[in-house]
Each structure stands twice: as C-alpha cells, then as structure tokens.
C-alpha cells in the first residue's frame, strides 16, 4: 500500500486535528467551526507545517461547499421563500455597495494604494456562506425568517462573486462595457440554469423520484448525481458556450444550490436532508480546516495589525449597514437584529477573489494573506454571535424595539401541537386513522412508501414521506409536541427513540414482536404495546377448538371475520362496525 501512504496520512492528520479540536470545542461550549479553522492553522504551514493543501483536500473542501449549498437548496421550498425575494434584492445590492465602500475607505486609510483598496473592497463585501449556513443548520434556524433572508442575501452575493471572478479572470477590464457584458451574460446563465432546474422539478423529477423514493440507496445516489450534474454544468459552462463564442463562469455552489431547490419542491426531500447531512458535515469540516492551509505564516501575518483594525471596522460597518437596510424593509426587531449580526464576517469568497486577483496580477500575495487573516478573524468572532445570539438579543431588545417599524413583515407557519402522529400505513394503522382523525384536530401520518403517501394525501390526510428514524422527519412532525403517537414500526430501535423523544403525558402506542420487547417498552413508558401474534394465537386456538368441537360456531365466526376482511373501502369506519363485539 506504499503508493497512497503519503496522501492518506495528510488527510488523516487533518481529520484527527479537526476532530480533536471539535471535541474540545464541544466540551468547552465553543462553536465547532472555529475549532476546525484553528486546527487547520495549527497543523498547516502557519504553525507546525505537518500538512499542506493537496489535490485531495482541495477537492473535499470544494465538495464540502457544494454539499452545503445542495443541502440548503433541499430545504428551500419556493412557496415558502417567494414572498421575501423582493426585500432580499432591495437589501443585498445597497449592502454590497456600502460595505465595499467602507472596505475601500478603510484600506486607503491603512495605506494600501487605490487599486489594491478596490480589490479589498470587492473582496470583503460578502458574508461567509459556509459559516452562516453551517451555523444556521447547527442551530436549526435555516427556515426561520432571518435564516431565509440571510440565505437569500448570500445567494445574491454569490452571483456578484461569480461576476467579479469572471471579470478578474479576463484580466484588467478595458472599459465599463466589458464589465456590463459579463454581468448580463452571468445573469442570463443563472436564469437559464434556474429555469432548467425548476423545469425539471416540475416535469421530469416527480416521475423519476416517485419511482425511486422507496429504494433509499438509489434515491440518495440519484439525488447526489443530480447535484453533480448541476455542479458540472456550472463549472463547465464554457463547454456549452464556446460554440456561440462567449466565455463565462458560474460557481459550482450556485449549481449545487439550484439542484437542491429543484428537489426541495418534491414531497420526498425531507428524508434526503438527513442522508446528505452527515456527508456535508464531514466535507465542510475539512473545508474549514483547510482554509488556513494555503498560505505561509509570513504571508498570512505580514499585515496582521491592519487586519485586526479592518476586522473591527468591517464587522461594525456590516452590522450597521445590514441593520439599517433590514429595518428599512420593515422586518421585525428580532429578525432584523439576528439577520444582521449573523452576517458580519468576511467570506471565504473574499479569499477566492483574492486568489484570482493575485493570479491576474492585481495584488501581491501578502494582500491575499491580509484577506485570509481578515476572513479567519471575522469568521472566528462571528461564530460567537451565533452561539450567543439569544443573550445578545435579550441585552439589546429594549433599544431594538424602539427602532422597530410600526407594521412589520410577517409570515404564517404551520404549527403542530397536541396532535396525533401515526407512523407507518398498514393493516394495523389504516383502520385507526378515521378514529384518530375524529378526535384530534391535527393528525400527521409518516410513511416510507410513495404509493401510500399519494393514497393518503388524496384522502386528505396530512402525510409526510420519510423514515421516522431520521431526526429531521421527527422534527418536521413535531414529535416532541405530539399528544398521541401510534407506531407500527417493528424496529425496537425506532420504538425506543419514540419513547425517548415524546413528552411525558403523550399516549404512545407501539408494536412489539416478542414479550421481552413488549415489557421493555412498558418499562420505558409505553402506554400500550400491540402484539399481534399472541392475539392471532388466541383467536386461532379458539377457532381450532370450535372446528373440532362445535363446527357451526366455527363457520359463524369465520363468516364474520371474512366479512370484515372483504370490506373494500381502504378507510373503513370499522370501529363503528365492530365496536363492543370483541369476544375478549
């Protein structure tokens, strides 16, 4: 195995360092993102120099970013975000202009020359997609109003990054018209790729995914292939444009995001989130750990004083600019505050812009070091704003409410409370649905088969496609708030999770395959454990006895049972039919 020793060892060191740092961070209550970045600083060329960036680490880092955006896309249902598109555009454009202005100003004051200052200004105006989305995901806030606003702004920034990179790649622009052309081409491309994604989402994907959703492995791999298709199209867009004589560039992040959005519109996206999540966590960890791998200490720290000053000024400026703009768009105080404080860092894209600028000979490598350090410092500090957002908000709440607009932007959300959750649609649960529907205001059914999901939603039931073993599905059906849970899952692991996660006074009804499992469930707090085999065994013994002793009674009994069985309505109200007629 000599051939790949060195390659794997680099990665193993990065993994080990980042993991140890992550565990330490968790123990000391620090955000893991900062731990991963610092781990990279320590094992990389800046401190010990054990490892450096390789093709493999770069690839995994790119995968990390692509997966992060793909995962984010899967969570974006268009009907849930369309109403905030207008405010996002109105906020993001002035925000970038203002931050770039502050960036240029502070750079000039720190002694950089004009062209350097312009590059720095263009590099610092984005907030970090990786940090913001990772932290929003960790905190479970991606679908909150401030979460969606921030994501929207980050994507708008992403489009601008793509344009700037395209311009930088072309070398110094001759005139403003060239910049304008690039802008138009990129916007058209984004529109085309979006149209492709959404068109597929409406016309092609539903048929494909309905067929494969029952096969977890194929479903997952096809979804990933779909993401890679868009990543590939975005990255190799020139292949398609060359015949028409245009040159352009799209970011793979944008492609991954749009691929995700296309899937998000399907009913099967929930489960996919849980499948994509672990891979994303792993890759994103490596992404953060490799941020600091590309530079030597001397380049990174050349302008360290300037970087600290710029970091402080920019974070304050970003907060004030975001706050003013979001407040202007009439978002409520909390949304405005959180939406702003989460966005104060300088993005990894700033570093990417810096790399392109070095390659195009606009700036020296020390300035790239300055931008990298700026990103590291502001990312590191900003993760604490996420971690302590509640405390910060409580602290500033009195001032914030004074500034709040009179009539704020609001949105409706479905809320479940004291509802019934039924897991699995089969002979056991099917017959109980109407009974539960009569008694609970809200009833949600979770099932893993597409035909069941279609049947149930045609019948007007609230149904979620997915596996209750996945935590995002449990969150989606608000398991913790349910008053009643009925599960026909025969997996003891799932049942134990249900018992652990339901509230104390919820009625939990489970199914068990053996006496031992049943009594374990009772001990863990189940209210009733169904065991169908003993019931069948009693019933069959009884019928056997009748058959051998009183055949008439046997015939009568099986006649009744068969009558119930032949009831053709898939949602029979058999509780009316048989209530009180049980013989035991």
């Amino acid at each position: 195995m000599v051939t790949e020793v060195s390659l794997s060892v680099d990665l193993a060191i990065i993994l080990l360092a980042a993991t140890v740092a992550g565990f330490l961070a968790k123990q000391s209550g620090q955000p893991t993102v900062i731990a991963y970045i610092l781990a990279g600083v320590v094992v990389g060329p800046v401190v010990f120099g054990f490892v450096e960036a390789t093709d493999l680490t770069e690839t995994i880092a790119e995968l990390g970013l692509a997966f992060l955006l793909f995962l984010l896309g899967i969570k974006m249902r268009i009907d849930e975000v369309s109403h905030i598109l207008a405010p996002i555009v109105k906020v993001s454009l002035p925000q970038m202009a203002a931050v770039a202005g502050v960036g240029i100003g502070v750079s000039l004051l720190l002694g950089f020359d004009l062209s350097e200052s312009i590059i720095i200004g263009l590099a610092v105006m984005y907030s970090s997609t990786a940090v913001v989305i990772k932290m929003l995901t960790d905190l479970g806030q991606t679908t909150t109003l401030h979460g969606k606003i921030d994501v929207g702004i980050l994507l708008a920034q992403d489009i601008v990054v793509v344009i700037i990179l395209a311009v930088l790649a072309a070398g110094r622009p001759d005139d403003i018209a060239e910049v304008a052309t690039t802008l138009v081409v990129v916007l058209i491309l984004v529109a085309l790729v979006s149209a492709l994604a959404l068109g597929a989402s409406r016309y092609a994907l539903p048929a494909i995914f309905r067929r494969i959703a029952d096969n977890q492995q194929v479903f997952f791999l096809i979804a990933i292939a779909w993401a890679f298709l868009f990543v590939f199209i975005s990255d190799e867009i020139n292949l398609f444009l060359a015949p028409v004589g245009i040159e352009a560039y799209l970011s793979i992040e944008m492609g991954a995001f749009l691929a995700g959005v296309a899937i998000a519109q399907l009913p099967y996206s929930k489960e996919l989130q849980d499948r994509v999540n672990p891979l994303t966590d792993l890759f994103v960890m490596i992404f953060f750990a490799t941020v600091a791998l590309r530079l030597d200490a001397s380049d990174l720290l050349y302008y360290w004083q300037e970087a600290i000053i710029a970091a402080i000024v920019l974070m304050i400026a970003k907060f004030v600019i975001f706050y003013t703009l979001l407040n202007w768009q009439r978002f409520d105080g909390e949304t405005t505050f959180l939406g702003s404080i989460y966005m104060v860092q300088v993005s990894e894209f700033g570093v990417v812009v810096g790399v392109a600028a070095v390659a195009g000979d606009f700036i020296a490598v020390e300035i790239l070091g300055f931008l990298t350090l700026l990103a590291l410092i502001t990312m590191g500090i900003s993760v604490y704003f996420f971690a302590y957002s509640d405390q910060l908000y409580d602290r500033f709440e009195p001032h914030i409410s004074r500034l709040e607009a009179d009539k704020t932007f609001t949105e409706d959300r479905r809320t479940l409370n004291d509802h019934a959750v039924v897991i699995g649609y089969d002979d056991l649960t099917r017959n109980l649905l109407s009974l539960l529907d009569d008694h609970f205001e809200q009833l949600v059914v979770v099932d893993r088969r597409t035909d069941h999901v279609e049947l149930l939603s045609d019948e007007g039931y609230d149904v979620v496609f997915g596996d209750i073993g996945s935590s995002s599905i449990r969150k989606d059906v608000e398991l913790k708030k349910a008053a009643f849970v009925l599960s026909s899952s025969d997996s003891p692991e799932i049942s134990r999770i249900l018992l652990r996660e339901t509230k104390e006074d919820a009625v939990v009804v489970l199914e068990a395959r053996s006496d031992a499992t049943a009594s374990m469930f009772y001990e863990l707090g189940a209210d009733f454990v169904i065991q169908s085999v003993p019931l069948a065994s009693k019933r069959l013994s009884k019928y056997l006895e009748d058959h051998l002793t009183t055949p008439d009674r046997f015939l009568e009994s099986i006649g009744r049972d068969t009558g119930i069985l032949l009831e053709s309505d898939p949602f029979p109200h058999i509780h009316d039919l048989i209530e009180g007629k049980l013989d035991d």
């Binding site: 051939t3 060191i13 093709d55 194929v218 096809i222 966590d281 017959n431 109980l432 539960l436 169904i530």
Partner: protein, 554 residues
C-alpha cells in the same frame, strides 16, 4: 474545480441512468455501478479517483467489522462453518487449477480461485432480507456462510500484504494483524465509550469521531505497510456497537458509506480495460476465457458444491439447494482483493479485469436466479439430481401409523405451540410439520407427532397423511408456501396466515377456508381500547394496566 472533482462529477452523472435501471429491475446497484464506471472510464483518468475510492473499500470493510455481533457469532457459525469452509476449499482449488491451465502464475491463480470462491454479502443478504427477517433457515444459513467468507477474505488480504508466498513476511503480516485486533479491543474497551461521552449527544461529532478513528487505523495500517482493509476491519471491531444506541451515528455512517462505496465500484469499473474496445482481439479472447472460468465457477460449481455439502450435513434438499443458489455470485470482497493485489503489483491487468467483469456479471445473474430459485429447484429435483433424502425424513420424524382425522400444524413457532396445546387439551391427534434443525430438539421433547421435512415437498405430505386430515393450519407467513399449499387443493379445511389484507383476500379466493391476519386482529383490539381511551371511558393508566395484564397472561 479540481480535476478530481470533475472526475467524481462525471462518474456520478454517468452512473445515474444505471442506478435507475438497477431500481427498475430490482438489481443490486454494485454491478451497474461497475458498468457505469467502465463507460465513465472512457472519459476520465480513474487513477485520480482511486484515492477517494479507497475510502469506499475502507468503509465497506469497516461496516462489516461494525456489524459483527459477538453475542450471536457462535450460533451463526455453528450452522454452517463446515459448508462455508468446504466450499472455499473446493471452489478455490478448482479455480487455481483452471487458472494455471489458462497460463497465469500460481499467485495469480490463487487470487483467482479465492475470488471465485467468495460470495457477495451485499447481493446475497440483500436478496435474502425477507428470509432473514422471517428467520427461515435458508436466510440464516446464507447469512452465516457469507459471514465466514467475509472473515476469510479479510484474513486473505492480510496475508496478501506480504506480497510473496514466503513464510517470514506472512508471519509478520499475521503479527501485525494481531496487533491491530488487540488495538481494536483496547479502543473498544477504553476509547470508544470516552468518545461517545465527549460527543455529548452530537451526531455530527460522533460521526466525525468515528470516521477519524477509521482514518487513524487506516493511516496506521498504511504506515506499517499492512493493507488498509485490515486497518478498516480493526476500526470496525473497535467501534462495533448496538445500532439502537446511536441511531444518528448509524444513519450517518450509512450515507457516508453509500457515497464512497458507489464511488468505489464505479472507479473499479473505470480501471477495467474493456475487451475489444480498448484491447486487440487476441488479448480480448484471453481475458474472456478467464471471465468465463470465473463465471462458470461462481454460478455452476459453487452452488453445486454448497448444496452437496449442506445435504451431507443433513439439511433437506430444498433448503440446501436454495441456500446453494444464493451463493452463485462473486463477492465485493473479491473485488477488494483484486484491487489490493493490483495495487501491490501482484496481479496482471487481464486477471484484475477478469475478476471485476465476472463479479459484475454474476451479481446481475444472481438477482435473476434468486427471483426464479423455486423454479430452478423444481427443475433440478425433476431431473433427479437430488434424491434419496426421504430416508432422512423418515429417520427424523415421528408419526404414528394410521393417522386420520388429525390436525396438521405447519410451523412450530409461537402460534404453532398454542395450537398444539389446544389439540392436546382436547386429546385430538395432530402432527406438526417443521424443517428447522434448530428446533428439532424442542420438537422431539414437546410434540407427540411430527414430520421433520419441508412443507413444499410431496413426501412430507405423504408422511403426514395430508388428505386424511380433518384440518390443516399453516402458521407461517411465507407467501411461497401458502400459495403452494393452496395449489395442492387439499380436501381438508385449510387455514392460512397472511401478513396483509390483500394477500388474505387472494388466499380466500383461491380456496382457503379461513385466513388470519394478525395485524387486523390487533387493529380491532386497538380500536376498542383507543375509542374507550379517547372517549374518556379509560385512562392512560388503565390502558397500561390492561396491556400489562395481557402481557403476563400470554
């Protein structure tokens, strides 16, 4: 975008239509991924992707290590270690001989033989899921044969790491292997619990912690020049845990594994030099000859040997044949062995390619033979290949002469036992039909009369005097068996069990006297209790008590 990422993107994009095919025809994805890789290989340099694909190997072996349950390992092994080892020896030796005849070196022939002898857990257990869940003997046997083989594969790869067939380096390798196992035991005892405590319930850290542990074991293996497979296996042993204890970890590792394993199979495919397309005619023929040998060994010789060994061990013909048929493919471990040997420079292109191609082919054909296994068995039985097993049934059964008006109970589980009790209470003659050797002692101890044989077989019914019975009750939920019983058109009343309503209706239409659907009975009971609860006639506490009383009364 790096070149590597472009290669990965292309691999997945090319794989997509093949994955859809796999889903459409209900085939395991592995062979189709290999084919997709062969096509993608025409566009990309697979070497770059190999590095990431190694994680696929590592995760595959790692998950095997994780899944080993030391509590049940003994009973699993007891079933079939004889058949498993015998099969490896016979097929392996045949493979070596045929390989040498075809002109490959001894070492390559050995690898060829081992590759042919191993059957795929991935294909086999996926196909046997229903049988395993229903705890049929066939499922258990298949599972345990594959388990022994996988274990053997890991050991073989360890020895392969020595690179030569000499004693000293091999002993050294085994020594390293032992050190890794000891390290695994140590980590499992002292480190894993520590990690899970430190993760403090965070799935993200738990997953990353375990992956890092895997990376460290692989790194250590690479460092001492032991195949990474050994490191990955030891890492799996080090963290083997009860999946219920860490559901998030289990799901997370599953999806990381799916991603890298898919990449692995496709990359392996991309490494294949395609006969006739990328290769001239003569060489292509040579390669095809090797492929044919492997396919012949895997789909004809191996099932045959397994079946004969199992029959020899006392399993009846149908179980033995069906189990044998479930081994008729080449294992993913063979692919791993091939690639490890290839990377070590022990294997020529042609042998490597032959193993990969044969694996892909047999994994697909195996899906087909599984689908038609009953028909295949009927065919084999009809041409008289398997006879003389009546003696065994006679020997192992206890049936009084002149049995009439009796009750025949098919299946000796929980349900069967309660029916036996009823018959005994009424002092009515009965006979039980069962074919699980694990239950044979119980059967002897508790039953007045039983036939130890397969209910699918004519002779079993002859023995149980089927048509003179008063009533036949089958308590198994096997659809195949239920349909076969209906097809016999028995005179006595026939009671069956069905897992759902649709099936029950089908059985009734086809002549069953009565069909019990346990789930429906449970629904009926639950409706009574729950309407009482929801109407306020019953409190949750009273419901619990009812449930507990019921549990104790069973």
């Amino acid at each position: 975008m790096t070149e590597l990422l472009t290669a990965i993107a292309i691999i997945f994009i090319v794989a997509a239509p093949f994955l859809l095919l796999a889903n459409r025809f209900n085939v395991t994805v592995a062979p189709l991924l290999i084919i997709a890789g062969i096509i993608a290989g025409l566009f990309i340099d697979a070497g770059t992707a190999l590095e990431l694909a190694q994680f696929g190997i590592a995760l595959l072996v790692f998950m095997f290590g994780v899944s080993i349950n030391f509590d049940t390992i003994h009973s699993i092994l007891a079933d079939s270690e004889f058949a498993a080892i015998g099969q490896i020896v016979v097929v392996g030796i045949l493979g070596v001989i045929l390989g040498v005849i075809l002109g490959v070196s001894y070492l390559e022939a050995t690898i060829l033989g081992v590759a042919a002898a191993l059957s795929s857990t991935m294909v086999g257990t996926a196909l046997l899921q229903t049988e395993i869940r229903m705890n049929l003997i066939r499922g258990r046997l298949g599972e345990s044969i594959q388990f022994v083989q996988d274990l053997f594969a890991v050991g073989f790869i360890l020895i392969l790491g020595a690179e030569v067939l000499e004693l000293d380096p091999i002993v050294l390798q085994i020594g390293y292997g032992a050190v890794f196992i000891i390290a695994a035991v140590f980590v499992h005892r002292y480190v894993f619990g520590f990690i899970s405590r430190l993760a403090a319930g965070s799935d993200e850290l738990m997953i990353i912690g375990v992956i890092t542990l895997l990376a460290v074991f692989i790194g250590a293996a690479a460092f001492v020049e032991v195949p990474i497979v050994v490191g990955a296996f030891a890492a799996g042993l080090a963290v083997h845990y009860d999946p219920g204890a860490f559901p998030g970890l289990y799901n997370g590792l599953g999806s990381i594994k799916d991603f890298f394993v898919a990449l692995f199979f496709a990359t392996v495919g991309a490494l294949v030099v395609v006969p006739f397309v990328q290769l001239e005619f003569g060489e292509s023929l040579e390669k095809l000859a090797l492929v044919l040998v492997l396919v012949f060994l895997a789909i004809i010789v191996k099932p045959l040997v397994t079946t004969l060994l199992l029959v020899h061990r006392g399993f009846e013909a149908r179980t033995a044949t069906l189990t044998g048929l479930s081994t008729d493919q080449i294992s993913e471990f063979s692919i791993i062995i091939a690639i490890e040997a290839f990377l070590l420079g022990l294997l020529a292109d042609s042998v490597f390619d032959a193993i990969i191609l044969a694996a892909a082919i047999t994994m697909i054909t195996s899906t087909l033979t599984q689908r038609y296994n009953e028909e295949l068995y009927r065919f084999i039985a009809s041409i008289g290949l398997l006879s003389g097993s009546h003696e065994k049934i006679d020997q192992n059964s206890k049936v009084p002469d002149e049995l009439t008006n009796h009750v025949i109970i098919v299946g000796f589980g929980r349900l069967g036992s309660s029916l036996i009790a009823t018959c005994e209470a009424l002092d009515h003659p009965y006979v039980v039909i069962e074919n699980d050797p694990a239950l044979s002692e119980d059967l002897e101890d508790t039953c007045q009369a039983y036939v130890f044989g397969d209910a699918m077989e004519d002779y079993t019914w002859e023995k149980a005097n089927g048509n003179a019975a008063e009533l036949i009750v089958s308590v198994t939920s096997s659809e195949v068996l239920s349909r076969a019983l209906l097809a016999r058109g028995f005179e006595p009343d026939l009671i069956l069990r069905a897992s759902d309503k649709q099936l029950a209706i089908e059985y009734l239409d086809n002549g069953a006297t009565y069909v019990t659907v346990p789930d429906l009975l449970a629904a009926e009971q639950l409706i009574t209790y729950l309407s009482a609860l929801l109407e306020g006639e019953l409190t949750a506490r009273e419901l619990r008590e009812l449930g507990n009383v019921e549990l104790e009364s069973d």
